[in-house]
Symmetry: C2
Subunit: 436 residues, 2 copies
């Protein structure tokens, strides 16, 4: 018999089906046993005799043959999608026996602390509310891809091992590379810029490694970064592209994952009519609204990001807001200063519900200006030879942006910790297991 997926049983009332999955929970009621069977599409109640149920217990892999029956009205379970039906089991074949679980996995929510969640990661990921996070994460990437392809970007595959620290700074992981020392890249930034003269418009998914000895709820040592970079563009083109990608990624996630958003009690995002403000304009609005004067601060504080997002929602009915013109000194060396006022830069952040989710800038595309910018940060142009070569031989005006996949997943689902948004998070204390 061909396998029927749990979700497809809804169309097969009165038929005998073969289901394959895991025991999600077992309830013994004297002469009958209820087993909730889980597969990738859902959970369904099956009804067995104690003989058939045998010693089946949670996470056993089982193949069940049975009749799809409508439940009596009063036994309908509105909390699961197959709640109107159940399976009258004819045979149950144990395929793979599970060990006794260290904690209950059969409840609608998984009540374990973060260390336990991560110590048992290859078990806890199976829980439907944990799995939901990563189903949505795959949709974030797919939405990003589709938006990038619509912008006519070509996908590229960049290296993660580098001869020098990508963007300056000491917080890089060192790798023993044959008889030499090399580094894991902090971002694919320099490589994507080098490919503008090749494809003009590129996008990519890559890894970003950050060795800051940080244990905050926002920090991962290894994260997944999504990037776009576009040539022959001015600042306005870049803002349009940034908002196009941000908006369409969120739209795709909403369209394909609205049941997950609903299960997490997340309102569907409003992403049209995105307001644009300079950082100084945003600080002025915050002063007017709250009386708190951050108008001379060199950056938005976390509470400023939250306040300006409240403003955007109230005045523009939009969950996104674009902030531009951050101080040149606060951004990376390749960021183009605003020619009208070089103290501020042609940079931008896209904020979503209180947090920055995409960030980028127009870049310096003149070779000599770029060399000067590298030197002004106390770095040596010698360490950027392959990068500078792209500028030496004719680089058009260009810019781009990037975002962290785990961080955006966290922000969309309002997770408390970015580690919950990484399948196997790496941090200062953990590589699958706690480092001793």
């Amino acid at each position: 018999m061909v396998r029927t997926l749990v979700i497809d049983t809804l169309k097969k009332t009165g038929q005998t089906v073969l289901l394959k999955g895991w025991v999600n929970a077992r309830r013994d009621h004297g002469k009958i046993v209820f087993i909730d069977l889980r597969d990738r599409t859902g959970i369904i109640q099956t009804v067995l005799s104690p003989e058939l149920a045998g010693s089946l217990h949670p996470e056993d892999v089982v193949y069940i043959t049975g009749l799809v029956k409508l439940r009596p009205e009063k036994l309908i379970n509105p909390n699961i999608s197959t709640g109107q039906i159940e399976i009258e089991v004819q045979s149950a074949e144990l395929i793979s026996k599970a060990a006794e679980l260290p904690f209950d996995m059969g409840s609608p929510t998984l009540n374990v602390e973060l260390p336990t969640l991560l110590d048992h990661r290859s078990l806890t990921l199976r829980h439907p509310t944990v799995r939901d996070i990563f189903t949505l994460q795959s949709a974030v990437y797919q939405g990003f891809r589709e938006a990038s392809l619509k912008l006519k970007c070509t996908e590229i595959f960049t290296p993660t091992i580098s001869a020098s620290a990508t963007e300056g700074g000491a917080e890089v992981f060192k790798v023993q590379y044959y008889d030499h020392s090399a580094f894991m890249v902090q971002s694919p930034q320099l490589y994507k810029q080098m490919l503008v003269p090749v494809f003009e418009r590129v996008f990519l998914m890559s890894k970003a490694y950050r060795a800051e000895p940080s244990v905050t709820t926002r920090h991962l040592s290894e994260s997944t970064q999504l990037d776009c970079e576009l040539g022959f563009v001015n600042f306005r083109d870049l803002l349009d592209a940034l908002e196009f990608v941000g908006k369409n990624t969120l739209k795709y996630v909403t369209k394909t994952c609205h049941p997950i958003l609903d299960r997490f009690n997340i309102p569907h995002p409003n992403v049209d009519n995105i307001p644009r403000l300079t950082m100084r304009e945003a600080q002025k609005i915050i002063l007017d609204r709250t009386g708190i004067d951050h108008t001379t601060e060199p950056d938005l504080m976390p509470e400023d990001e939250r306040e300006i997002c409240r403003w955007a929602l109230e005045t523009h009915n939009c969950d996104l807001v674009t902030i531009t013109h951050f101080p040149t000194k606060k951004r990376s060396f390749y960021t183009a200063p605003d020619p009208k006022n070089p103290e501020f830069s042609l940079s931008y952040d896209l904020l979503f519900r209180g947090m920055e989710i995409l960030s980028g800038s127009q870049r310096i595309h003149d070779h000599d200006e770029l060399v000067a910018a590298i030197e002004s940060r106390g770095m040596s142009p010698q360490n950027f030879k392959m990068y500078l070569m792209a500028f030496k031989y004719g680089m058009p005006p260009e810019g781009g942006f990037s975002f962290g996949l785990e961080r955006l997943t966290m922000q969309i689902l309002k997770l408390a910790n970015v580690r919950e948004a990484s399948l196997f998070p790496r941090d200062m204390e953990r590589v699958d297991f706690r480092l001793s």
Copy 2:
């Protein structure tokens, strides 16, 4: 004026257009100057007065305004897609001045040796025949994605930093991870298997790091790996999935990149009616055809792969052939032995035009059998705790396959060296520049 892409000038005869791109070549003919302008969509001839042409030279970024004119019949260039037209230039604005090139980039083929090609990678990638390789590479990945999505696989994002060597073996890169030592993964194999009980079917793109001190034409220290892994499958399901992905990836590449295949003189692949042979059957056919007796060898030799592909093409008109049942000892520990003859395994390779391009197997899914397999290879189950946890709590029958993106790109385009199929290849001697 809005920019017109080179390819779109074909529809604009008699109109004035703004083109943006690079000087691909310059030819001075007394009172007129020809400049071939290149952008991401093609090359077009422009005609300028010496005054307008000024000192423009190869790789300068230039914005050109001019009239699109049909060329006289006898001046049509059949070798470029815009060969029937040219641009009568009205103005030329230099946007970014390029330094003098170290070698000619304006010819249809780039005649430089591999070290030169790589020493100037951020320049040489611009050459249309080099760029073609990576346009096709992006199509390989897109074709793989579409096939994987059709198989209902969920995309996953797996870590590259690991606490222990993934699949045994000493040839791993060691990374200084805060106060600890960690390793770069040899493949995402163990992680994708751990996600079968979560999503049942997964696919991913990731990095594979191999520290073999090898300088062959097939070896990269860092490569891009594409993977699928499927649960609730038997050996036949896996062969079907393998061939579905292999066939449809090649079909997508042929459909979207046939002009590139034509430029590289590569015949379009025949991918239907893929024959299946066990390794022993293949060796027998090779003996019958060539008189060379490899029927007791534990693997196919490179010349065997070429011969059996010739056989597949001659007898089945197919550029692909699936080989199964390699000796258990020759495959990784997680490979399931054939229950009918455990000396051979439920493994498979998909060969394409003389070389293996996809490889995989049915996996051992029983926890205790897997522990025994690890121990039988002299490894410690302690190093596989998170992996084994996935099997301890109920793993269905499962298997999968993977392929190297650069290697498949190399094989499709018949490149001489896999380094040509990596944007920025990492090998024993090179990280962008030659390691001293």
